[in-house]
Subunit: 298 residues, 4 copies
């Protein structure tokens, strides 16, 4: 805890997150992961399996998403599951599988860390440390990640207000870690037709009020493969800086959230539809070393 | 009530709305209002004041939105207001003002009808009869509108599930009126940073599961002028067939919902950003008599 | 519309409902229906079928609830149903059945009115006109009921904030009808284990902030017979002035909401449990002509 | 993780929590803390400050709540706060203050543990380890507490469904800790008049479907001192096994959640109203060594 520039009770909402506020860094934050830049003009796509299940599934998925143009490999090895009897992830062995698959295709990795004690191990293999929706207000974890010098992907809690999400990010920045990527993944509402309700207005608002990159997870937000492509395109149009998408070679056999995974074919289809929408909002799929004037002239 | 092809209790959800289901009309419904076609390849923009306040304000707004390319003039004369002490609309005199303004700029009109008794008067002047969010489950009104031969714009209730919204549309079709346009306008959630939570996944779902046109109201959904353009572009990318947007020449003086109205300048700006996104999803702003092969080649 | 003592925009929430505010009538409003007093020290129980289905079912239910001590007979003849293909109520013939059943057991009637046009017919036979949850913001209906000289039971909308509910009541009082009974019937939340989420804190708040009687509908709030008794007792402890409960002689055969109806036996059991809790909060089941000092000494 | 008696995907909801299900222990679980029994016929009241602020405040509160008949002293030393700039609790020194205050008045302690690493320290001083609402799905914490041989108070997450709450408890029982007390503390809904929406039906449901004791936190649920007493009485009537209530000698000076704290006077008043309601539902305030026939004859 530091110089206390605001207070939960008395301060005005916008002033209570001085470090994430746009005004504190009007040019915006660009998070670098290897060569990939998140939050710049390039739009970044993270893709991979919900859970790492084994070598074959992981390498097959990594190869497929890399071939379609994904920039970051996602994959869970520590899985927060509602039921104690559900598959809880492969743990450390899964981490080695994931790292090996990523190395082969040359992609950086994003993976979830569930508690402070996992940070040293995860930081060794993973390029972006993900805070899951259920941990958005796990303050000891946020404090610990504030001291790490690795990018953090902060998912919005499923019942977190916009302001609470911003304050969770403020914990990270207050701790000294400015490499924070926000991720909207749907909020819990009365609606049951979709898994969650994707709140794209919160993405636009986060882009306006903060200097942090904001990406969207249409897989968890909708839970429906048919809705992922339209929501991915909508996210791009709304100003998001990227996507994180679940892909599985055989969704019906997945050990976790298979019903919402795209097949590699559908993922490829989505990657082909994105450039048009991005172009319309003066963006492009991220690619290395493209000078701004070239990107703009595409 | 007719041949009862389904039942609230026993039937499966999708089967319980046989008349709005996509399967009943795979080619889709195109609602015609004058020359304007809603639900075809052209994207339709309805715009105008929240409430008709007087001749000058209405004509000024109508002229501005027509000049920017809007296709339909919106304006409320009967206003559902939370407080009995708030401005309740101009009523019948407002209807004449609205009709006169629309005639001058050559646009058809959409306006809200609050009860069955208003239908004859409204139907005389208005081209699309709007059912407001608070009346989505006003079943006598839906029954009465089912017998009218005018298009109906059915707004989603602010706490209506997707299925309830579809069933409200089924009331209209079951009554014999197939000219139904669905309108997503944000749902009520725990979030207070925006007026409502825009549910664009429901728009994509409605396009997949029904044959009806679906438009989006980003003004009521967000209540924030800064969020209207990004959400309008997102709606276009998500597959919506059009928009309905509040515009006021002097938002700060508006008698109703001024805080969410766009100025004519911001509306024009939005109209200039739409074509790019629409093009990326193989659509275009509606315009008369453009053969499909020309639109596709733009 | 009258002297506009407040305004939706500028006024403070509590001041915006001057006529329902406790301050305007500190002694509280007691609504009289025949001999029954709602809002006094006596606790009033309304019971009967969700829908009037026929003579036998209605008379059987009326006889049973009267025998168990219910004070008002409930029964729907015009039913708002989500699906156009569900049973929509018996309509006018059902009204005659209900009136006859009530006459035989000597109970006044509460029944739902769905639109202004039904008011004259309903007012002829019914003692309390119910506004259903879906019509809480049907403002033309509220305006029309404001001019009627019969008590109105105003159910809270399923996504209505406390303040919106109070403003709906203000419409009735502003129209001149002060015989208003508020009814909490559960709100719509993310929770699916119950039909709705019963908000008893809103009942306590309404008792503190307004002078109107407040009753609770645990049948619609929970949708589960097992939860009706505990919630009815909780309502009594929280300070409610009464209950409205669905009873059906054969719940499994009911044409509407049978899954939440109590059998006459379970209703009787509930009526036997209420007096103890009421006594603990200095109340009692309403009964005619009991002087206050006797009630207190019970 | 153990013998996997159920699975998140395929199993039916009730079967997916075999260890908390009522059927697995029909006689119910009674959690013992010193002499106090939670889940038996006696109703248990936990009370104290939201946060331990210092010796004087803590001892003053402890003395007051003990004098009014509270059975357990509550007080937070590690505080989960939305803002990184808000008071985060006294930490370990606060724990010693709390333990000393509790020792003087002879009450056991309940206090929140925020991460696994705090368990050894907390377990040394505290009698009941509380899992806060924001940590209900902190699975590493639940796993760690499953191995502890101390009672755990499991608060419902503010957007947790009933089923998710039960599954969180299942994590504890699956780990080997059967001393689990459930605590309903209000859920997050669209309503803003109260801090949260108290879901008493979930309390009644938990009593029916599980064998675990269930208590209610009306302080966090309502955030309004005026609503705490009616909700506490309602909880007792609904079948809860106890309450946890925030008390502060000078609420307006509290460093945390002062607006919802009861003064010692109001707490005493509440303690005087509880026995009547409890008697009506065949319960009583817990007291040592009262044979059942005496309690029944009160």
């Amino acid at each position: 805890m530091s110089g206390k520039p605001g207070d939960e009770g008395g301060a005005k909402p916008r002033e209570s997150t001085p470090r994430v506020a746009r005004a504190s860094k009007p040019e915006g934050t660009c998070v670098r992961v290897g060569r990939v830049e998140i939050g710049g003009p390039g739009f970044v796509v993270m893709a991979g399996p919900c859970a790492v299940e084994g070598l074959e599934q992981t390498e097959q998925t990594a190869t497929a998403v890399a071939a379609s143009g994904a920039h970051v490999l996602r994959g869970g090895v520590f899985k927060p599951r509602t039921s104690p009897y559900a598959f809880q992830g492969m743990g450390e062995p899964g981490l080695r599988v994931l790292a090996e698959a990523a190395r082969k295709v040359g992609l950086p990795i994003v993976s979830e860390v569930m508690e402070s004690a996992q940070i040293p191990l995860m930081a060794e293999h993973v390029d972006i440390l993900q805070v899951g929706a259920r941990n958005m207000q796990n303050f000891p974890l946020l404090r610990a990640l504030g001291k790490v010098r690795k990018p953090v992907l902060l998912k919005r809690g499923l019942a977190a207000t916009f302001q609470e999400w911003m304050m969770a990010a403020e914990y990270l920045l207050d701790g000294g870690n400015e490499q924070v990527i926000l991720c909207e993944r749907g909020i819990r509402t009365f609606e049951t037709a979709m898994r969650n309700t994707l709140d794209l207005a919160a993405v636009a608002l986060a882009k306006q009020r903060t200097h942090l990159p904001v990406i969207v997870d249409p897989s968890h937000a909708t839970g429906e493969p048919e809705l992922i492509q339209p929501m991915a395109l909508a996210a791009a149009a709304a100003g998001a800086d990227g996507l994180i998408i679940e892909v599985h070679p055989r969704p019906e056999q997945a050990l976790c959230d298979g019903q919402q995974a795209l097949t590699p074919e559908r993922f490829q289809q989505l990657m082909r539809r994105l450039p048009g929408v991005l172009h319309a909002v003066d963006r492009h799929l991220w690619r290395p070393e493209v000078p701004a004037h070239v990107a703009g002239a595409r």
